[in-house]
């Protein structure tokens, strides 16, 4: 399948309202930052073509979701078929860091992914451009707690970024793309192609049901 048509990778960005999800996506896709972005309602996506490891061309479809808790039940409409999930917090807002676990849980419940145990997540701590004084005190230690398997259970790669100054954003999304591609290929191999589910709901159903028997 991936040989025939260009690989489409679906990435979901989650995190509390105001951590900078929209800004991150805009910085990555359009290389710009603006104070005029409005609060996200529902979800939006943007796409960007990139090449992974210098040869494989993929299209990233990046979904920027709303952060306010009231909107969380909407996830079902947007998470399905995701290949990677980005959990964002704001380095000046401790609560946003503490909430990462519940964002992850919520995602797994609503996306209905086939491999919740090893589904690719990545963590982004945004706004590192701000004054040291405003940052969460002893951030590194708290981060360690949360990403430690025993304690917080979020044992995922962490990037610290500034969507404002464009620091580390590109690098983070490169890793995101790689992880998403892996997940895609894994799904392909399992004949369990949920990633295209949203694209062609009916066909995929037939495909996955018939994947066991010979054609």
């Amino acid at each position: 399948m991936s040989g025939r048509k260009k690989t489409l990778l679906k990435v979901i960005i989650l995190g509390d309202s105001g951590v900078g999800k929209t800004s991150l996506m805009q910085q990555f896709v359009n290389n710009k930052f603006s104070h005029q972005y409005k609060a996200t309602i529902g979800a939006d996506f943007l796409t960007k073509e990139i090449s992974i490891d210098g040869n494989k061309q993929v299209t990233l479809q990046i979904w920027d979701t709303a952060g306010q808790e009231r909107f969380q039940s909407l996830g079902v409409a947007f998470y399905r078929g995701a290949d990677c999930c980005v959990l964002c917090y704001d380095v000046t807002n401790e609560k946003s860091l503490n909430n990462l676990t519940s964002w992850k849980d919520e995602f797994l419940v609503q996306s209905n992914v086939s491999n919740p145990q090893d589904f690719p997540f990545i963590i982004i701590g945004n706004k590192i451009d701000v004054d040291e004084a405003k940052k969460i005190p002893s951030l590194q230690k708290k981060l360690q707690n949360i990403t430690n398997n025993q304690l917080g259970g979020l044992n995922y790669p962490v990037f610290e970024t500034s969507a404002k100054d464009g620091i580390n954003v590109e690098a983070a999304f490169e890793v995101i793309a790689k992880m998403a591609l892996q997940q895609e290929e894994l799904n392909d191999a399992n004949g369990n192609d949920v990633s295209d589910d949203y694209n062609d709901a009916i066909n995929i159903h037939l495909e996955s049901e018939s994947s066991g028997c010979a054609c």
């Binding site: 309602i41 529902g42 306010q68 009231r70 949203y198 062609d200």
Partner: protein
């Protein structure tokens, strides 16, 4: 901006100017003079009718404008402007066809044309007309500048004016004549509309809501919009004798509500631990930042206050993102009416009125913002149903591409299309929503969304999943005019009358 709107806003801006630059700096009582002067009907034969109405006009407007508890002290002094200049819009009603092309012409083009003596003499005539009718003393001034006071406005010359600079050949003169005639017709229409509104608003001791709705459905003149909206929303009682006291009480209540809260609303205040206030704060900072008004710290503080108060008073939903958008039309429309005296006290009045009207609006759609937002989920479902009846082909295409209605229309419901349409178009839309019974923000809105979606039906049918959503995330409405909105509203109206009763049992 469309030509029509440009001109409307000029008419409107003139009125501001009188408030701002007028003799008494826009104390409420001068609104009556203003309205009388505006008297777009105004052949002098009707002037007796007008003076009969003057008290009424005075009364009704003082409800909104007059008894706000302003101190009148600060107005005064700057009398050098020789009193409130007559409005430009005053002029056109009793003019012959040959001159009113100047109505929208900025002062310097009037000057350019003034060698043509007709203009000057007409202007003078109009001026004396006006002063004989008005309650204040107008010093007849030959100065064009004082007749056309809005020098502060950039000259928004329409093509008519551009032509008028060089009437070099016959053809362009013909064109100009034609345009002039059209212009007169248009202005006459506006003036008779304005009068109809004014009659409803002032002629009886009880405002006839039915009539007002009928009229307002097709759009409200901007200088009467604030008043009309407040009545349609039930914020201002239809019983005119009770209007002033109601306003006073409501505004007081608002202030008391605020005083009871412990929040420091200053922007510079150390970040608060309340997550509710935090959410409001970051959203207000992201509200309409492309419009200058919303960048001012004062505006932002007002929005923070009123949104916060609303949220704590409505714990079932609390503050939900998008509600920040919904208060902006009120804020903006009411502001235009108070702008001549913008200062702290007015700001709190503006806030209070916005607060109460927002509350009224949200009462109609409480289900949109409570847990799991059932109102929106229902509306999204209704929209899908409607499309299945109106444009099955489109629905099939969306289904085939795997596009879910929730994916694109959630925002349409949550923000009432405010993310898809410019605020001036939204304001026009709300004229109609407010004239619907029940108010159009709930059910009627779904029909409007259907009309909106179907506008793009042909485009959408050509697109795949990704293209469809990208398109609907950013629908091409940048060039839309009021006409487009009005067409959409009429379509929605027709569908509503066709399907209203059917929709319940088909669900």
């Amino acid at each position: 901006m469309g030509k029509k709107k440009q001109e409307m806003s000029q008419v409107y801006n003139n009125s501001n100017n009188e408030f701002i630059f007028g003799e008494n700096g826009g104390k409420g009582k001068h609104l009556s003079s203003f309205l009388k002067n505006l008297s777009l009907t105004g052949t002098s034969s009707t002037s007796s009718v007008h003076s009969a109405n003057t008290d009424n006009i005075h009364e009704i407007n003082s409800n909104i404008y007059g008894t706000l508890g302003y101190s009148s002290s600060k107005v005064s002094s700057n009398q050098s402007n020789s009193g409130p200049p007559p409005k430009r819009s005053v002029s056109y009603k009793d003019l012959d066809d040959d001159w009113d092309a100047d109505i929208d012409v900025s002062t310097d083009s009037v000057v350019r044309r003034s060698p043509d003596n007709r203009n000057l003499s007409r202007v003078t005539k109009v001026e004396s007309n006006t002063s004989s009718r008005s309650s204040f003393n107008l010093q007849p001034s030959p100065m064009l500048d004082s007749l056309y006071p809005d020098l502060t406005l950039p000259a928004t010359n329409s093509s008519v004016n551009l032509n008028s600079q060089k009437p070099t050949n016959e053809e362009s003169l013909d064109v100009e004549d034609y345009r002039t005639t059209m212009e007169i017709n248009r202005l006459n229409q506006i003036s008779s509309r304005n009068n109809k509104f004014r009659n409803i608003l002032i002629s009886d001791s009880i405002v006839n809501l039915q009539d007002l709705r009928k009229l307002a459905w097709n759009g409200i003149p901007s200088e009467l919009r604030a008043l009309t909206w407040q009545i349609l929303l039930g914020y201002l009682p239809t019983n005119r004798a009770r209007q002033a006291s109601t306003l006073k009480r409501k505004r007081q209540e608002y202030l008391e509500g605020l005083n009871a809260s412990t929040i420091d609303f200053e922007d510079t205040a150390p970040s608060n631990s309340s997550s509710l206030y935090h959410q409001i704060k970051i959203d207000v900072r992201r509200t309409n930042q492309s419009i200058k008004l919303y960048g001012y710290p004062e505006t932002q503080q007002s929005l923070r206050k009123l949104l916060y108060l609303w949220a704590v008073r409505h714990p079932a939903s609390g503050y939900v993102q998008g509600i920040n958008d919904l208060c902006t039309p009120f804020f903006q429309i009411f502001l235009l009416n108070y702008i001549w005296q913008l200062q702290q006290r007015v700001l709190s009045i503006l806030e209070a009125d916005t607060y109460w009207c927002l509350s009224r609006l949200l009462e109609n759609i409480t289900d949109n913002y409570i847990h799991e937002q059932p109102g929106i989920i229902r509306q999204v479902g209704d929209l899908r149903n409607l499309i299945s009846k109106i444009d099955l082909e489109l629905l099939n295409h969306l289904d085939h591409e795997g596009v879910e209605f929730l994916q694109f229309s959630f925002r349409w419901m949550n923000c009432l299309l405010m993310r898809e349409l410019s605020i001036s178009l939204i304001v026009r839309m709300w004229d109609t929503y407010l004239s619907e019974t029940p108010l159009g923000f709930n059910n009627f809105h779904v029909y409007v969304c259907a009309a909106f979606l179907i506008k793009f039906s042909n485009d959408l049918k050509e697109k795949d999943f990704q293209e469809i959503l990208l398109f609907l995330q950013n629908p091409p409405t940048g060039h839309w005019k009021e006409k487009d909105i009005e067409l959409m509203l009429s379509e929605a109206f027709i569908w509503q009358s066709l399907y209203k009763n059917a929709s319940a049992h088909l669900r």
